[in-house]
């Protein structure tokens, strides 16, 4: 049995650890970057992120226990991380998280083929990945398809994306209403800048992007039963930008970008499979069903028309949001990886 993971970011890394845990050793990872946390490190550094959003979304291990609280408690010889974990107040630091990724990389023998896969061709008994032969089970974890910039700011030299390395000018306009925007308000204020928030609506303040029941079968069963139109509308609402209450900072709000020295686009990532060349090609070639930019995958994030008793094609990360609204988180990566491992194990 040959198994491949296309994409070596955090999602692919979680899948790799999960497959190993499930006893599946012959896994080939294709990635142009050897460090699974490379993109994360850059983005976290750019927004000066210090802590992960939650404990369960703050580690790459295949099971919810032991999370980083156990590791932290051991390292610090203190029960406080465990107590904080019990109280849902444990947020591992970015430093701890990155060290954890490095450890797991070493421990798991992570060694991706340093190459970007250009095409996935369905053939008898599996999928051909460029010239690398046929794999029976393939997980596509290509990650976010680039940073999103508001169209009206195209060509404006003042603009920098929140996830790109940047400093702060004297006057800063932050566009967006999610966690990155809230972080940038705080960062810019701390840097002594005058900050204005540009947003179209009041920010949603909630601990996680999606309500917690939507992270388990309890909420997902209902979600999966919805018809396409209702599901797309609900998904749109669920993915609206939000940040935890404690991240809020009061800053002046304006409807349009003003004449500030610097404009920070805290507008997240481009959305939709069309921005991902590999997925766009696959959808076009195989005429895969799509809804409002999402590939319409099965509840276990597999592509139904390309998955059968012999082979599996599954999507992970943001591309799997049709199956799991929080698929672009580490919890989502685990969800998809568990389903994928099940399919690999039972074939």
């Amino acid at each position: 049995m040959r198994v491949a993971i296309v994409g070596g970011g955090l999602c692919g890394f979680v899948a790799h650890l999960t497959l190993r845990r499930a006893g599946i050793e012959d896994v080939t990872v294709f990635s142009p970057e050897a460090d699974p946390a490379a993109a994360f490190r850059v983005r976290a550094a750019a927004i000066r992120q210090t802590h992960m959003r939650s404990e369960s979304d703050g580690h790459c291990l295949p099971t919810s226990f032991p999370g980083l609280a156990v590791r932290d408690a051991r390292a610090r010889r203190s029960v406080m991380p465990l107590v904080a974990s019990g109280l849902d107040r444990y947020h591992p630091t970015v430093e701890t998280f990155c060290a954890h990724v490095d450890d797991e990389r070493r421990r798991s023998g992570w060694s991706p083929v340093l190459e970007r896969i250009r095409s996935i061709r369905a053939v008898d008994g599996g999928f051909e990945l460029d010239a690398h032969g046929v794999f029976e089970h393939v997980l596509v974890a290509t990650g976010h398809p680039g940073l999103a910039f508001p169209e009206e700011l195209a060509g404006d030299p003042r603009v920098v994306h929140a996830y790109e390395p940047h400093g702060y000018a004297e006057t800063v306009c932050v566009v967006g209403a999610g966690l990155a925007a809230a972080t940038e308000w705080r960062n810019a204020l701390a840097a002594g800048a005058r900050v204005v928030s540009v947003r179209r609506r009041e920010p949603v303040q909630q601990p996680l992007n999606v309500p917690r029941p939507m992270l388990t079968k309890r909420g997902l069963a209902r979600f999966h039963r919805l018809d396409d139109e209702t599901r797309a509308a609900e998904l749109h609402d669920l993915l609206a930008p939000s940040y935890p209450r404690e991240a809020h900072v009061d800053v002046p709000v304006e409807r349009r970008v003003n004449g500030a020295d610097q404009v920070i686009a805290a507008t997240g990532f481009r959305r939709g499979f069309r921005h991902d060349a590999l997925l766009a090609r696959l959808v076009a070639e195989r005429e895969l069903p799509t809804v409002n930019g999402w590939v319409s995958v099965a509840p276990d994030a597999t592509v139904a028309s390309l998955t059968d008793g012999e082979r599996t094609l599954a999507l992970a990360g943001v591309a799997a949001q049709w199956a799991y609204p929080a698929a672009d988180t580490l919890m989502g990566a685990r969800y998809v990886a568990h389903g994928f491992a099940r399919r690999c194990r039972t074939r």
């Binding site: 999960t18 099971t63 919810s64 226990f65 388990t216 079968k217 309890r218 069963a221 568990h338």
Partner: protein, 388 residues
């Protein structure tokens, strides 16, 4: 954790398995009762929790645990479970801790998708149903085992009696085990089985106690009664009482046990003696017995007794085969009485070889009795009535 209802119940059952087994292992009835209450309360509250708690953080286990403790202890008091408070609290606390370890660490480790499956264990419904069915049986089996009295095994050979039993015990004889001089039972919850008793004033006597079973016992050469039951509640099964050569003794005498409850004599064989099986002032059933060659009455139910005499065989009794007398109320059905011999040389018509006799204000319901070769098949005397 956002539990599904199935996940809550499955995880609860998984957490309960160990406390139930532990309770069974400690051989304390209160522990089993407490474990049972914890299971019932936990599963019932899971049904209540499901809707109002869509997400249950780890810390919520503390207030929910205290709530469940309160309900369990209230029920312990209400039902009257004899649990020592300190040990009951320790038992609950350990079970609660175990549930936390299981839910927070072991189950997620065992099943990778446990948390995203809402606590479901991924077992088939049939397997879950099997656990739900088996668990009570394990508990019930443990209760049964717990309630069994200790067993005293009598080896083959002769044991000099009289053997006096004054504690809960099962006396089980090996093949060839003989007690010489009789057995006296003075404690409730006693079973005597597969023992042969030779001699003694009474072969086996049971005095003033309930829940006694005599099973596969043989009595020979007792000087008075073979089995002597006074003010007691006893079940006698598969016995053999040989009273030949003891003209004044009763084979099995059950007397004055009305307030102790029912007595049963079933599938016994009595040969010889004055009365084969006699019941005075008692309540019970005499069934499937074989009585022969008695000198007074084969089977008698007298002195305000109540009960059934059914499917017995009485043969060659002198005077009376089956008697219901002295204000008794008897159901006499499907008995066979044959070859009763006359004993009316003095002119007593009531002993003129009567197969089935009802006398002195007694009431008997008779049905399908086979009375053959008796000088007088049926006799009704002194204001007695029969139906039909």
């Amino acid at each position: 954790m956002s539990y599904t209802l199935k996940g809550r119940l499955e995880s609860r059952l998984a957490a309960l398995a160990l406390p139930v087994l532990a309770a069974a292992a400690v051989h304390q009835w209160w522990a089993l009762e407490l474990a049972g209450l914890m299971a019932a309360v936990g599963l019932a509250l899971d049904l209540v929790y499901h809707r109002p708690i869509p997400y249950q953080p780890a810390w919520a286990a503390v207030p929910l645990g205290l709530l469940e403790l309160g309900v369990v202890m209230a029920l312990v008091r209400a039902i009257g479970v004899q649990a020592p408070l300190r040990w009951a609290l320790v038992f609950y606390a350990v079970a609660w801790l175990w549930a936390q370890v299981l839910g927070q660490a072991l189950l997620p480790l065992w099943r990778m998708s446990w948390s995203e499956d809402g606590g479901e264990l991924g077992v088939r419904p049939t397997a879950l149903a099997a656990v739900a069915i088996v668990l009570p049986f394990v508990g019930g089996g443990a209760v049964y085992r717990h309630n069994l009295p200790p067993t005293l095994r009598l080896s083959a050979g002769v044991h000099q009696g009289p053997l006096v039993i004054d504690r809960r015990v099962r006396v089980v004889g090996a093949p060839g085990a003989v007690v010489r001089g009789g057995i006296v039972v003075r404690h409730r919850d006693v079973t005597v089985s597969h023992v042969r008793v030779v001699g003694g004033e009474y072969g086996i006597s049971v005095l003033g106690v309930r829940h006694v079973t005599l099973d596969h016992v043989t009595v020979v050469r007792a000087r008075l009664d073979g089995i002597h039951i006074r003010h007691a509640s006893v079940r006698v099964h598969d016995c053999l009482v040989d009273m030949r050569g003891v003209p004044q003794g009763q084979g099995i005498d059950v007397s004055y046990g009305m307030i102790q409850g029912e007595n049963v004599v079933d599938q016994c064989t009595v040969i010889g003696g004055r009365d084969g099986i006699v019941m005075h002032g008692s309540m019970g059933m005499l069934m499937h017995n074989n009585v022969a060659e008695t000198s007074m009455t084969g089977i008698s139910m007298v002195e305000m007794s109540m009960g059934a005499v059914a499917q017995n065989t009485v043969s060659n009794a002198r005077g009376i085969g089956i008697l219901c007398g002295d204000h008794s109320m008897c159901e006499i059905e499907r008995n066979t009485v044959a070859g009763t011999r006359r004993d009316d040389a003095g002119g007593n018509k009531m002993r003129a070889g009567v197969g089935l006799e009802v006398e002195f204000e007694s009431e008997a319901h008779l049905a399908r009795n086979d009375l053959r070769a008796n000088p007088r098949p049926l006799g009704v005397f002194l204001g007695a009535t029969i139906d039909p």
